[in-house]
Symmetry: C2
Subunit: 204 residues, 2 copies
DNA sequence: ATGTAAATTGACCAGGTGGTCAAATTAATA
DNA sequence: TATTAATTTGACCACCTGGTCAATTTACAT
């Protein structure tokens, strides 16, 4: 068993928590192992005993973040499997907002990973995410096409791309607005409606 | 006159060129003044004589990059003022691709600025960009609405947001695909058509 | 050619980085 | 309790950072 797994769950939590804070506040290169160590209240040697390198620690954390994101997505997809396209889209937006609100630090790590350039293995990870998203949104679009809710001659790849672009951008802006305290910048419901209307029309 | 302005234009070009390389390859924190100095073939003291801090040098460079971007945008907007919406949109995509192809390093600095988190004054700059884009795309949407090409009851802010999201994301992906050598990832014409079709329909 | 002013240099500084490892502490075994 | 094994520690290392400044080189005026 890996040394980190042997630790008391309280200590594990402390370390994970400190790491999440650090990697969400600074990008990979700028994030500091010393800072993690101080926040977690352990010694430097210990941290490097649990995680041999900064890279490995980062991998541990981002997988954690991504796992949570995937959970959310899987959840909303399955729970809305029988809903029509527009309601489904609306729920996706809602759950995205919910995730961001409940896990702002994990969301930050996610956005940093997707939009910033210097995480290790960034290309591989982003490719993974891309194909995950294609899969996810692709299924939803396909379902809607099968039901006759969307134009059956759609270029699916492009449609998914548009969806992904708008959804991600919206959530990113929402996340940033949230972190800057300007709560009124986005009216959730209004924007949710706007997005679903725009896509049901654009892809019809 | 500032010391940098007194330099021979050849030397100025060398320094600007080295700085563009550095800031396009690494993000602000990671970019190294030592590296700029070596690439430019001047001494460290000189560089800090021309630009008192890293921050000031970065500002000089990003303003340069942004100026070029604005030039391109202004150009295409004015030259297509009388075109219908779909042709206009198509030209915007084309000119974006052209810019990226001709100035890949400046494009990289632009994307890094917009999507990454650690440039100095990032918030201020991004706000500036946002209102610039709102202005730019807002005008184009407004023109089309006035001409009766788009639904006159559109929520303009949202429409502009969608346009901005998709255009930026597309150009970013195109830029990344280009830099990774995979030229066939995007068929320019096909995607240009797809984008215009999607928006003319979605906003009609 | 000489003196002076301006431009250029690079050794140097304090401070930070990821990572190491002998030594000290704690836990487990007998 | 005495011995051994596992865990934890933090001083330390080489390296890099942005930035400084006395000293040297260059340019120019007389």
């Amino acid at each position: 068993m890996k040394p980190f797994g042997k630790l008391s769950s309280e200590k594990q939590a402390r370390i994970v928590n400190a790491s999440i804070s650090e990697f969400s506040e600074k990008d990979y290169e700028t994030a500091s192992m010393n800072s993690v160590v101080n926040q977690a209240g352990i010694s430097k040697g210990s941290l490097f005993n649990y995680f041999k390198t900064k890279n490995i620690l980062y991998n541990h954390i981002y997988k954690l973040a991504l796992g949570e994101v995937k959970n959310y997505l899987r959840n909303v997809r399955d729970k809305t499997a029988d809903f029509p396209f527009d309601e489904r889209l609306s729920k996706i937006v809602d759950s995205g907002i919910k995730f961001i609100t409940e896990h702002p630090r994990l969301a930050r790590i996610y956005f940093r990973l997707v939009y910033s350039g210097d995480s290790p293995n960034r290309d591989k990870i982003v490719n993974e995410l891309q194909s995950m998203s294609e899969d996810y949104l692709g299924n939803i679009v396909q379902d809607a096409m099968n039901r006759g809710e969307l134009n059956p001659n759609l270029d699916k790849a492009q449609s998914v791309f548009f969806l992904d672009a708008v959804l991600n951008r919206f959530l990113k802006e929402y996340h940033e607005a949230m972190n800057h305290g300007s709560q009124n910048a986005f009216n959730k419901d209004e924007w949710g409606k706007g997005i679903t209307k725009f896509f049901t029309k654009g892809l019809s």
